[in-house]
């Protein structure tokens, strides 16, 4: 799992540009699933047929995309103006090392604020070491997207920090699940979704084409175990969380019970998650076509939407065992 996470968090893939991540995952699942395809929005859809003729069709969704910064303008001095792709937090972005897909490196900088001016991405620029606009435009183009450049590193005994842990850790979980899943009654469709961070767009079209009976999103959730926390009853390392609700979906109560029961059978301690804001691909899946029961299995994660998102490998392992137990 650790290796999968390190490989996947190192890949480049902001919303709308998930191709490199999809290529990696497709390689990891070669020979492990019955069919693989991609759709117009860039979703990677990997299906493993069930053994029972009356088995259900279960969609598992983990999103490939990460948040980023799109170049909107080049100043004559060669600095790049940017806009957010997904929920970039300006305070988390000050003086950050960023990179582009073509290898160009930069530093994201906030210019000094004028009195009364509030901090926003409008006052940020990327310095790519260009001496003027012409040189900058020979290195990047308008519309190119930068991502946080930090690498993945270990902290403590079994924790990892990286940008794009949201949601590549869940991509790693879903890859591992599909690699190890024994034959089961239900057809399991692993969908590595595109464009979640800009409004769960990929999950919507994938769910439309797949018409599943059930949807489970795999995503990170916030932790409430840090100083000045937001009073969330979620702690890092205390086990995966089964989502009861967030701002975009109310999990199907039967499905919540079944997942918690599966966790019991597997001997995995779970947390129950109620997130007053945010949403996952479950929100898009549940309202597609005639609707379907959904739930989210969440990985607790500190510093979500920063360049150092931290997850605990014991939570990852617990989530894998819960899903295997549920699908068995």
């Amino acid at each position: 799992m650790e290796e999968l996470i390190k490989t996947l968090t190192a890949a480049y893939g902001p919303s709308g540009r998930e191709g490199e991540v999809a290529d990696l995952i497709e390689g990891m699942l070669a020979g492990k699933v019955d069919s693989v395809r991609r759709d117009a929005l860039g979703n990677l859809i990997c299906e493993k047929k069930g053994t029972a003729a009356d088995g259900r069709r279960i969609m598992l969704a983990a999103h490939m995309d990460q948040i980023g910064l799109v170049v909107t303008h080049v100043e004559k001095e060669g600095f790049l103006r940017v806009s957010n792709v997904g929920g970039i937090n300006a305070a988390n972005s000050r003086t950050r090392h960023v990179r582009f897909h073509n290898g160009v490196q930069g530093v994201l900088v906030e210019q000094p604020l004028k009195p009364g001016e509030t901090s926003s991405l409008r006052s940020y620029y990327i310095d790519i070491g260009a001496k003027d606009a012409a040189q900058a435009l020979s290195m990047v183009e308008l519309g190119d997207v930068a991502v946080y450049a930090e690498g993945c590193f270990s902290i403590g005994a079994h924790r990892l920090a990286a940008p794009a842990m949201d949601d590549r850790c869940a991509c790693a979980l879903l890859v591992k699940l599909m690699q190890t899943l024994p034959a089961c009654r239900d057809t399991v469709v692993a969908v590595f979704t595109a464009q979640e961070e800009v409004g769960t767009r990929g999950a919507q079209t994938a769910a439309y084409s797949l018409e599943p009976d059930l949807g489970i999103a795999l995503d990170v959730t916030l932790c409430g175990d840090v100083p000045e926390d937001r009073k969330l009853a979620i702690a890092l390392g205390e086990g995966p969380a089964i989502k009861v609700m967030d701002a975009h979906s109310i999990s199907n109560p039967d499905l919540v019970r079944e997942l918690l029961a599966a966790a019991d059978r597997a001997g995995v301690a779970c947390q129950r998650e109620v997130l007053p804001h945010g949403g996952t691909d479950a929100g898009a899946m549940q309202r597609t076509r005639g609707g379907m029961p959904v739930c989210t299995v969440s990985i607790p994660c500190r510093n979500v939407h920063s360049s150092c998102e931290i997850v605990d490998l014991t939570d990852m392992d617990g989530a894998l065992r819960v899903l295997l137990s549920y699908l068995a």
């Binding site: 919303s15 709308g16 540009r17 759709d39 117009a40 929005l41 799109v70 909107t72 303008h73 100043e75 103006r81 806009s83 957010n84 792709v85 308008l142 519309g143 464009q195 800009v198 409004g199 767009r201 990929g202 919507q204 079209t205 439309y208 084409s209």
Partner: protein, 342 residues
């Protein structure tokens, strides 16, 4: 069809019937009656079958509706209260001439003017504030409430009263350029050479929240969709270059993303390269804001690859939009060249 005719036709969100009738007739003349249908929300969908099934099914879309106002009630004095339909800035409304109701063969619409407190009565504070829509009214010269309600009952559509005129050096000044320029070009493209299936969607209710595009796209089921739009040109005054979005006269605007969609990355690059190769003026939309039908179209059904190609427009969503004829031409040329090369 003339751009002037299209711009001067009245067509609010949900009340596109006049534009729809013109568009439908033009499509039927070009492609035959059987090729043209309406969807449940009132979008016009014209299908041109291709000879080569290996080519992708392409949708070209433009919205028929324009921003405007709708009457909600009358005051005791016979003045009309209204609400905006679509994003209308209250600052552009005061003292504008409007047409209340739609022109009918036997009954023209009523002239009206948007009124507010006279400057003589305003305090210094009043003059600094923007009057909210709730404090504005439309004066149609009615004697009293009963007469006002009789000639302009609640629900009556109101459009800006502004002719479409040539303007300066190759520009055009009109209301409703957003998105009649797209409709104009879509009609011109009905004969564009392309061997695959080509679907034209003239959508409704874009300004009311992109409502018509999703249903139209679900019918059209395209693999690729190009959205012909009109977008904000913020190139006046001392606006810093980084906030100008795009500039009138610098070519058709290609979008890498807005608030509702991310332009397909390959299409985006291919379109800019095509513009460069063919000498068709193109520019990049350099600000991420707003949204258009691409958002609904890309997510309709199993989804499709989308890209928005927009004509820059100053004073968009007002009675006095300004576009460049060369940019309008560039939008058509770029789509035509792209289709020919697919």
């Amino acid at each position: 069809m003339e751009l002037k005719t299209l711009c001067e036709t009245q067509g609010l969100p949900g009340r596109e019937e006049k534009v729809r009738a013109m568009v439908r007739e033009a499509c039927e003349q070009a492609l035959g009656k059987d090729a043209v249908s309406l969807d449940g929300l009132g979008s016009v969908i014209a299908v041109r079958r291709g000879s080569d099934p290996t080519r992708p099914r392409v949708l070209l879309a433009a919205h028929m509706d324009e921003v405007g106002l709708m009457i909600v009630s009358a005051t005791e004095e016979g003045l009309l209260r209204f609400r905006p339909l679509g994003g209308v800035d209250a600052r552009v409304l005061v003292s504008k001439r409007v047409r209340v109701g739609y022109d009918q063969a036997d009954k023209p619409s009523l002239p009206g003017v948007i009124g507010a407190m006279a400057i003589h009565q305003q305090t210094a504070e009043d003059r600094k504030a923007v009057l909210p829509v709730e404090q504005l009214y439309i004066d149609i010269g009615a004697r009293d409430k009963a007469e006002a309600e009789r000639v302009a009952p609640a629900g009556t559509p109101v459009t800006f009263d502004a002719p479409c005129v040539p303007f300066g050096d190759g520009l055009v000044l009109a209301k409703a350029l957003d998105d009649r320029v797209g409709v104009y070009n879509l009609l011109r493209l009905l004969d564009a050479p392309y061997a695959g299936d080509l679907v034209f969607a003239f959508t409704c209710q874009e300004e009311g929240g992109c409502r018509g595009a999703g249903t139209a796209a679900r019918r059209a089921q395209p693999e690729i969709a190009l959205i012909l739009e009109c977008t904000t040109a913020n190139d006046l005054g001392d606006m810093p270059e980084a906030l100008q979005v795009c500039r009138v006269g610098q070519g058709v605007c290609v979008s890498f993303m807005d608030n509702t969609s991310i332009g397909n990355a390959e299409l985006y690059r291919a379109m800019l390269a095509l513009g460069r190769d063919r000498g068709i003026p193109c520019q990049v939309k350099t600000f991420v804001a707003g949204g258009n039908d691409a958002g609904e179209i890309q997510r309709a059904g199993v989804g499709c690859r989308t890209l928005a190609l927009s004509v820059p427009c100053r004073n968009i969503h007002s009675a006095a939009g300004v576009c460049s004829l060369s940019d309008i031409r560039a939008q058509e040329d770029l789509v035509r060249a792209w289709l020919a090369g697919r």
